[in-house]
Amino acid sequence: MNALDVDAVRKDFPILDREVNGNPLVYLDSGNTSQKPRQVIDAVREHYELHNANVARSVHTLGTEATEAFEGAREKVAAFVGAGTAAEIVFTKNSTEAINLVAHAFTAGAQDPRLRLGPGDEIVITEMEHHSNIVPWQLLAQRTGATLRWFGLTDEGRLDLSRLEDLINERTKLVSVVHYSNLLGTINPVDVLVARARQVGALVLLDGSQSVPHIPVDVTALGADFVAFTGHKMLGPTGIGALWGRFELLDAMPPFLGGGSMIETVAMTGSTFMPPPARFEAGTPPIAEAVGLGAAVDYLSAVGMDAIQAHEKQLTAYALDALAATPDVRVIGPTDTADRGATISFTVDGIHPHDVGQILDDEGVQVRVGHHCARPTCVRFGVPATTRASFYLYTTISEIDALVRGLERVRKVFA
């Protein structure tokens, strides 16, 4: 494994040259959305300047080029996450759509018993989910009469597995769990959950929105049935996400959105549908966005996901130490680097995160404040909101120093 050359990496990200409020930009909000390297921005521009056309519909040259670029991106993404075939990658608009797509496959009348859901059946999530992995299941439970249950959390910010056997049981149809929490930074024990789900015949969806960008993910090795992830958090454009699913299972699922390109044949009296992934990609897909995402995974692979993980671990250890040394800071989530990612939420005694974020912004330091779309996690830890710093391959140790300096200024303003 080659070590990551952060100075070289930073040169690829045009936005890092920017100033914010007269200070150099210190972007510590990559968990929210990542910045984009020149290579991705250029790939999108070049696509529009040279190859733009609709896909899968044309015999003309531009259409063929666009289709090859689009399907080529699917192959790159498939390889990046270790999918068996490119046909297991469904392009969506974001993680959220990917999760909703799976939720809509479950109905009372489903042909496949695995997807049949009604009163008495259970779906299991956790108290550390992003709203995008909570609300779709609440809505599904409302539609079908199924029951939504969830894992609680330990004070350390880990899944409380003491009730594993009770929570995942014979009635469980689906376990949908975040791989890497966007608020706590916790990386969950997928193997334990998958093993138990297999025992009872439940399907497993992993919300990989934070893991796929930051750690090497091999969907086949993980053993889940579905993994959802999103382009904009992994150096790619906005407007694109993906659902990986085992082909056999995708093929058992009914269509979600109906429209062009997902059909086999249409008559006024009824239609038949394409096999996956086309079945789930109604209408014109995010073509330029796929091309950009392809460039993003090329970039990540060139740097090396192992190197990125090692770099982020170093940053996380440094930041956790630095924050531990500040008495008025309380970290919400694991306080050592075992099974945790480079996302650190914390509170500052007596000062609301909004005010923390505002003063840090004045110093050029961009952190996210609020409930991070994981309000139940905040409730669990008795805080209305947190301040969150999240790192990526372009983050430096001196940016963490800037954060710590910024926190001193926060204290001064509110002294």
């Binding site: 005010d355 505002q358 303003v413």
Partner: protein
């Protein structure tokens, strides 16, 4: 310094030593408002006696801006007439929506002119408005439309 305009002394004072905080009886109506992006919350009660805003009491979690705004609202509206409170509400909303271009009228807004700087921070405008929106809502419930006519 831009930041000093946001965190004016008056705002920090109200934040650290809020006026009239706490939910009190009697009251005619209560409203609970949430800022969904950040989770700030306020519960606000009004007590109306004839034409007068007899009390505004509140409880909430939030940043300095929303908390100070609630405290100043209490100072400004309590004891005045309902009509006056609506005039002040309007002036405050106008100031907040003005992106820093509106000159506040100190005669109407008193301490609340300190919020002029907040208007430059679009992300914080909602914080400042939170208790005021709750006030308007509570007032509407306390004084039904028919009665106002």
């Amino acid at each position: 310094m831009k930041l000093d305009q946001l965190y004016q002394e008056i705002i920090l004072d109200h934040y650290k030593r809020p006026h009239g905080r706490g939910l009190r009886e009697p009251f005619d109506a209560e409203a609970h408002h949430v800022n969904p992006t950040c989770g700030d919350e306020v519960t606000l009660r009004v007590s109306i006696k004839g034409d007068t805003v007899a009390d505004v009491s509140y409880e909430g979690m939030g940043c300095s801006i929303s908390q100070a705004s609630a405290s100043i609202l209490h100072e400004l509206l309590k004891g005045g007439t309902v009509e006056e409170s609506l005039r002040r509400h309007e002036a405050f909303a106008e100031l907040m929506g003005g992106r820093g271009q509106v000159e506040p009228d100190e005669a109407v807004l008193e301490d609340a002119v300190a919020f002029a700087g907040v208007a430059r921070y679009p992300a914080r405008v909602k914080c400042a408005l939170l208790p005021w929106m709750a006030y308007k809502d509570a007032l509407a419930r306390a004084v039904p439309e028919e009665e106002k006519a």
